[in-house]
């Protein structure tokens, strides 16, 4: 079992114990605080996923065995916490795994789906779309290769 699955399971397990929204959001903010920041040279226009309310920076690199290595950052605490959850699902995975993973279902299960919705405009939805399109492109080029 890879580390990513363990991390996601740990997040799922923690959420089961939260009765009050306060506990859940404190946990999400703490996840965000533990997320490493992107260095300034990567917090640039080229890596920016613009949201109406907050911004997300996304860098996609190549990991071992065709996996994608994701580095993501935001200017908002809660969004950073939500990014940590997305990373737990996507980081270090193959394009097939990423495209096969139902991130909406995960956010629905954690009762955070509204943060992935259009109206939030926090950049998360656009970020997920960009990760998926990179995964699709990698898949297409490996098919050709």
């Amino acid at each position: 079992m890879t580390e990513g699955i363990t991390e996601l399971d740990a997040i799922r397990e923690s959420f089961e114990f939260f009765d009050a929204w306060e506990d859940k959001y404190r946990f999400v903010i703490d996840l965000g605080k533990d997320l490493p920041s992107l260095p300034d040279h990567q917090r640039v226009e080229d890596n920016l996923v613009r949201g109406c309310q907050s911004q997300v920076w996304l860098v996609v690199g190549d990991g071992p065995d065709g996996s994608l290595q994701l580095s993501i950052d935001s200017d908002a605490h809660i969004v950073r916490g939500l990014i940590a959850i997305v990373l737990a699902a996507f980081d270090g995975r193959t394009p097939e795994d990423i495209l096969g993973f139902d991130i909406e279902a995960l956010f629905a299960e954690l009762d955070l789906l509204s943060h992935l919705s259009q109206t939030r405009g926090n950049g998360l939805r656009a970020m997920v779309a960009r990760i998926r399109s990179v995964a699709e492109a990698r898949l297409a080029s490996s098919d050709r290769g």
Binding site: E22, R26, I29, S54, A76, I78, V79, H115
Partner: protein
């Protein structure tokens, strides 16, 4: 007073995330009183038909209701004639209508003067007009407090200035601009003046005759009426002289395959079937607004806004964005160590609706050096309890970050 007003708005009884709703996003859209909801559903229940067309009882009644709404709006803004009240989709469409109709009147070397305080809807249509016509878009600066820099305005105004477009009240900071003075200065150089009144119409008495602007644009949904309808007021000679913008039914007098003669005002600018139920709802909203004594309305709202401002000023870690000389309805602020989006989300979980982000004023946010703010905006249905919950909500949100 405020208790009875509150009872007119059924939505204010609902909860959000299990908490009683505190609605502080009226600058985005106001809630609707029962009278407006009834007027819209009553229109569909009893008289729905297309206007100005058929000769049957329903069409007559619908046309009468639609034109009665126009007359209510005319009286509300003290426009000289009903022909000067053009129904549009809202403020944005009103501004686009003017910007398009002015296309042939501008040429390279001409200038369009706006301010840093504008909403995107009072920037982008003018950028597009500048691109079409070769004219130059000029933006007047603001002070650090969020007021229009009057010296800079006077400096940038010159005999090349053909159009001046300014908001009456800033949606992001609540600044009430001295539009009477600015209109006078603009007219002195021969410029045509459009006032974006989106944030003013629910709060300030409007008098087109004494204001003397050439165009005034506002939206129904920000003054307790339905979405999807708004108004463009214009001076008669200008409206007569300008070409129509959109073509279609309703705006024509006679059509052959080669040529069309246009309908008279206001229909020349109202192509297609209008938003009839929306107009009827807007008429009901005007009736509702005018039924409340203006003094009560302003006093209650101002008292709450001033109270909230003074509370925020005393809170450690809270910083007001914009401290205009005269403020109306809107408070923008930041919380140290937190992004506006964090505060907005944590307020939302407490049942408090505020807006976060750039408020469609990115050039203003850039000028103020912040990517966005948290914005609370008040209306006549807000209460002392709303202010208390708002302040407590910020304190609680602060404890998370």
């Amino acid at each position: 007073m405020s208790q009875s007003i509150r009872a007119d708005f059924p939505i204010l009884d609902r909860q959000a995330h299990g908490e009683p709703l505190v609605y502080l996003d009226s600058a985005a859209t106001t809630q609707k009183p029962q009278a407006v909801i009834d007027a819209v559903s009553g229109y569909y229940e009893t008289m729905n038909a297309n206007v100005h067309r058929a000769a049957h009882a329903l069409a007559d009644e619908a046309t009468q209701a639609f034109e009665a709404a126009r007359e209510k709006v005319r009286a509300f803004i003290n426009a000289p004639t009903r022909e000067q009240v053009i129904f549009t989709r809202g403020t944005t469409e009103s501004i686009n209508l003017v910007a398009n109709a002015l296309s042939q009147r501008l040429s390279p070397g001409d200038e369009i003067l706006i301010t840093r305080l504008e909403h995107h809807s009072n920037i982008v249509p003018w950028q597009m007009l500048a691109q079409r016509s070769g004219a130059t878009l000029v933006a007047c600066d603001i002070t650090d407090n969020g007021d229009i820099d009057l010296e800079d305005f006077a400096r940038r105004l010159n005999d090349k200035t053909r159009v001046v477009a300014i908001n009456h009240v800033s949606n992001a900071l609540g600044t009430v601009n001295p539009v009477e003075t600015l209109i006078g200065q603009a007219h002195a150089v021969g410029a045509v003046v459009l006032i974006d009144g989106a944030q003013a119409s629910a709060h300030l008495p409007l008098d087109m005759v004494s204001l003397d602007c050439d165009f005034y644009a506002f939206s129904s949904h920000k003054m307790f009426g339905p979405t999807g309808i708004g108004v463009l007021y214009g001076k008669r000679d200008l409206l007569e002289a300008l070409p129509p913008w959109q073509g279609g039914g309703e705006m024509i007098e006679h059509v052959t395959m080669e040529h069309t003669t246009y309908n008279v005002l206001p229909y020349k600018f109202e192509a297609g079937t209008p938003n009839i139920s929306g107009a009827v709802g807007l008429g009901a909203a005007v009736d509702y607004l005018t039924s409340i004594p203006q003094a009560d309305l302003v006093a209650q709202e101002d008292r709450l806004v001033q109270l909230a401002v003074s509370e925020l000023k005393q809170m450690p870690g809270v910083r007001l964005v914009g401290e205009p000389e005269r403020r109306l309805s809107v408070i923008s602020f930041l919380v140290d160590g937190a992004h506006p989006n964090d505060i907005g989300t944590l307020m939302d979980r407490q049942g408090i609706a505020v807006r976060t982000g750039h408020h469609c004023t990115m050039p203003l946010m850039e000028r103020l050096g912040t990517p966005g703010t948290v914005r609370a905006s008040f209306s006549l249905y807000n209460s002392q309890d709303d202010v208390d919950r708002f302040v407590a909500g910020i304190r609680k949100a602060q404890s998370f970050v």
